[in-house]
Amino acid sequence: MIAASSTALPLETVEPIAAVAAEDWLFVLDNYEYLLAGAVITVALTATSIVLGLLLGFPAGAIELYGGRFSSGVVRKAGVAIRGTPILVIMVFTFFVFPLEWLYVLPASEPFQAAVLALGVRSAAYQSQIFRGALRSIDPGQLEAAQSIGMSKREAIGYVLVPQALRRSVPGFQNEFTIVLKDTSIAFAIGLGELLRHSHDLMTQQTTAALELFVFASLIYFLLTISTNRTLDYVNDRYAIPGEG
């Protein structure tokens, strides 16, 4: 389609590809709004899932560590089951099996709800372990010192252990955030119009642009991970205990 080069060198195979690539990049740029709309869904899905995971996961971690035999047993077993199940299986379950109409609270599409539920609950299972590990890493002397001034165990945990454990959870949480962000792409499978799905939609219109579309999508994922990581680095420094590491 492009005029062949007059040189004798065997560039015919190179030049057309470069030209086609330029065309495909233009295709990407022409459709950037559609791709960014997908990115917005990706961000919304990440944020909602992380918050759900935090709200469920941190208390679960504390219950697993300090709860009674029954409650900690239930939480621990549920965690093992969820961590042992592939995210795609969880998501297919929440989409096709779980009665989503029970969740009146979310003013969002069914695929979105199913994806949040799957990613959030799965993240909770991991976040509980991050928080439990952080709580366990705190010197038991801290608990005893708090109890020795007359605090109940519950107060001691709340005022002394949790604030320190939260700080120590940031690095682990940083990893978890990145994982959830990237795993939002699994929602592709249940038809949610997130970034990967939108890239795929465009690819079906212009199959030659597959590479360009997915490079562009990767770039957006990369920018999102980098910026959240930097933000959490800042949070980590900002709330570090003065004089400590």
Partner: protein, 261 residues
Amino acid sequence: MTAQRTDERDNERRRAEHEPLLRIENVWKSFGTEQVFRGIDLEVDRGDVEVLVGPSGSGKSTLLRCVNRLTEIDEGAIYLDGERVTDADANVNELRQQVGMVFQDINLFAHLTARENVTLGLRRVRGFGKSEARDRADRELANVGLSDQVDSYPAQLSGGQKQRVGIARALAMDPKLMLFDEPTSALDPELSNSVLEVMERLVEAGMTMLVVTHEMRFARSAADSITFLEGGQVVERGPPERLFERPERERTREFLESIYG
């Protein structure tokens, strides 16, 4: 009826007057197969300083921990101010407010400043208001010579400074009894002195203290009585002069010589 009740109250008062502040009665304790205490008896009067000495593993620290129930006893009883505090239904948190504890590994709340370490208990346990707690904390910290460090975090303080914050934190709760569990063992010798000075001032102020320490100079000058523990029992107890100069038991002499040099 009325007469009888008055009698009872009189008896109670008389008992209270003769009652030592701390009474440890036939306490037994084991960790698994290891018997830590085989019937410990000990009484500490108000304003007295009792120093516990003994070889490592003799249960000195465990005994302190039993007094504020960080460790539970198996048998026997402990009374604080006439009240049996080792009962299952005794209020542990209330007991611990009345008994200050200073730890060997200090255990300052790592995420709080020196001042906040002291105000936390005042606010959350004693219900002080913000400014009231702050004033009290600053006073306690001034008393241990740390007025200029109120805003420092534990990691920014030296060992001796940290331990003095630990003492201020305990004293802010207005305890009747202070437990010191080797308060200077984790410190460099030159840092120990600042802590010992604070303890000596507490002794002068009339605080009742139960102290586990290897600082024999402190024991000699400050203790009203020294208890030598070994094998889960009180081997010998007496005023420091007698214990150091004329111990009744050969084992006591050996032990004191070994640590005093």
